[in-house]
């Protein structure tokens, strides 16, 4: 990553790479975008974010802007790197290229990511913000980025303090539409539970073996939909292995392996507010209150 760059230099480098990527005399590469994908990636999430990105560029050609906050860096500077991810079009000359811009926000720059990202957004296309880890409630970074994005994509399974974060999350609902990858992961279990209606209409207890985020979402969802209090018993596990309602196991849905890239890609196709998710999370906030 080059130290001390400007946005102008980033734009020039993007143009240079587009020209350079096409072989002399061959068809020019196409730059195709269906959105701008902003990713807020604190240091500990860099590897995971890179892996996810590697798998989704082809499905969602976009300009991806990786914002890497380094608030403890003594410099007041931007570090930058521009990359073109090109893939060959079947039966066609030339390639389709997506742009990946990595920006290290050093020192005070980490407090003003909105002004860094804004000049690089592709006009007229939706902006998705993938926020890695817990949202920084009250921090200007979160406020600025949710201001310029159309949708915020979170993963509550990434949160260390899941219960506390869930209770704060509703304060974002009126500001931006939210996707939660953990919510997508429990969809098959929600479908399985729905099959048990009306028998589970008066359920009293829920037992889940799985990650805390997914467990809470299932719990909140049942509380909100059934309009009932349910006792929760939780056993930590890497993925949801068991859901039982009133001591009866919910038939496990057909296992489906989905990569983190696919999970994120699915969320990038949703544009509307998910009222059912918001009610599930709000039901958790009520418990804590």
């Amino acid at each position: 990553m080059t130290e001390g760059v400007t946005i102008r230099q980033i734009e020039q480098e993007l143009g240079r790479l587009r020209h350079a990527a096409a072989a002399p005399g061959s068809a020019p590469n196409l730059r195709t975008s269906v959105m701008t994908h902003l990713a807020w990636v604190p240091e500990r999430w860099v590897d995971a974010a890179t892996d996810t990105l590697a798998g989704m560029g082809e499905r969602h050609p976009s300009r991806t802007i990786l914002l890497l906050p380094r608030p403890d860096d003594p410099r007041d500077a931007l570090d930058g790197e521009v990359d073109l991810r090109c893939f060959v079009r079947t039966g066609e000359q030339g390639q389709v290229c997506s742009e990946v811009i990595s920006l290290g926000l050093c020192g005070p720059r980490a407090k003003a990511p909105g002004s860094v990202a804004m000049p690089l957004l592709i006009p007229d296309l939706p902006v998705f913000l993938r926020w890695r880890g817990e949202p920084w409630f009250g921090d200007p970074a979160l406020d600025q980025l949710t201001e310029i994005a159309d949708r915020l994509v979170l993963d509550s399974d990434e949160w260390g303090e899941c219960d506390a974060t869930m209770t704060q999350l509703p304060e974002l609902f009126d500001r931006i539409a939210i996707s939660d990858i953990a919510w997508a992961k429990v969809q098959p279990w929600r479908e399985a539970c729905a099959e048990l209606w009306p028998e589970i209409g008066e359920a009293d207890s829920l037992r889940v073996a799985g990650p805390r985020g997914e467990t809470l979402l299932l719990w909140g969802w049942l509380r909100a939909r059934l309009r009932r209090e349910l006792e929760l018993e939780h056993e930590p596990a890497g993925e949801v292995e068991l859901v039982a309602i009133d001591g009866e196991d919910v038939p496990a849905p057909r296992a489906k392996r989905t990569s983190s890239s696919d999970l994120l890609s699915d969320q990038l196709e949703i544009f509307v507010r998910d009222r059912i998710y918001e009610e599930a999370v709000s039901a958790l906030a009520t418990v804590s209150a």
Binding site: L30, V34, P61, R89, E92, V96, E191, W197, P198, I276
Partner: protein
Amino acid sequence: MSISEKVEAPNPLEEGLRRRRSPEPCALTIFGASGDLTQRKLFPALYALAVRDLLPPKFGVVGVARTEMTDEAFREKMKQAIQDHARDEFRQDVWDEFAESIRYVATDFADQGGEEHVVQCLNELDEKFGTASNRIYYLAVPPSAIETIVVEMGKRRATDGWTRVIVEKPFGYDLETAKHLNEVVHRHFAEEEIFRIDHYLGKETVQNMLVLRFANGIFEPIWNRQFIDHVQITVAESLGIEGRADYYESAGAVRDIVQNHLLQLVALTAMEPPIDFTAESVRNEKVKVLKALHTPGPKHVVRGQYGPGYIEGEEVAGYREEPDVAPDSMTETYVAAKLYVDNWRWADTPFYIRTGKRLPRRETTIAIQFKRAPHPPFELDSDDALRPNVLLVHIQPDEGVSLAVGAKVPGQGMSIRTVHMDFLYGGSFRTGLPEAYERLILDCMLGDATLFTRSDEVEEQWALVDSMVAPWKRDRPNFPNYAAGTWGPVAADELIHRDGRSWRRH
């Protein structure tokens, strides 16, 4: 609250689930299971649905054909077909699960017991896999065999569950036979149970035509005679008849492509906006276009037949030299026509259509050519410098849409050249496009007939084709009249040149 009220209360857990449409349990019976279509398209499509977990959880397939074969031998043959033709990598786990419910019945419907064997096999699937007497009969058989199967299976239709019949093209040979076939089928099945397949309608880009027109505010206001000069629809194939002389000799290009694919593309291009995307609304609008098509006179229709030539550098035989083709065959392998849609939107706007075998390359496109700019204030170095705008819908290969616009050549002066703005599916949506048959088989399982052809559509199509071919009985063209590897007979160029226009450059 009474018990009955409690049971009918809506399920609050279903709200917001965005469930994928999932078909009900069913058994699919393929008549003509030893044929090419089954191996190249139907089983690969079923496998693709299995890979994506889109088949019903309780599902069975019965292959029916005359060839003697065991269940195991049929499964092996279909496994090989999937390995050869499926768009996904072969996965043993998916195949094992899918193969378990595959059965084969060797029978000839001339044999009185044949249909009983099929029914017996379906009953066994109901018992073993819970397919709930829901049945789909896929008639991948020659037109001559359709009537017998429809009558026999109609007599034996299950009393529980639903029954749907998929009929492959061609649906009839002319208007009279199509009407007769509709009558026969309607004796046993309601119209909503009949799914006449035209696989072009299952293609993503054909469906995208509707999205392009009706989901974008910029196109519809100019989608009419005031702004559009003409429309060209091309269905070009570089292949010959690939050993299908028996079928092709009686069908020819007009029945093989014009009656179904080409007229469907005309209808989708010219139709008015439907009020919604239900089967009836969409098909009502298509029928209106077909009814409004003006019968082309003999001067507006050109037919041709290929002679020997070269395709991709390889010498290929002429049509009359193909195996099992009569040496004096008068079957057309090329048709071009000028059509008019006689309505307010399209009056006097020609739709030029053409299709042919052994053309230089495989290509299906709809080209909407707009009128020229009325007064370009530039000094142009040639008339050709500022060509009219063309919106080009690529249906195959390289699915997508491109728009030809004039742009200034960088540098001194004001030179203008035509450039293409491309949207290619492969570039913007990198997910593999589903094969048409995947979409259509799944739609049939779900009972959605939007992308299938209704009886009145078929009859309107045949009525037009009958009027096109009627004059052919009286004349005897000098066939062959174009060489393989060229863009068709000279008369086809003359057809469009007479109007001061030309076929699109390739």
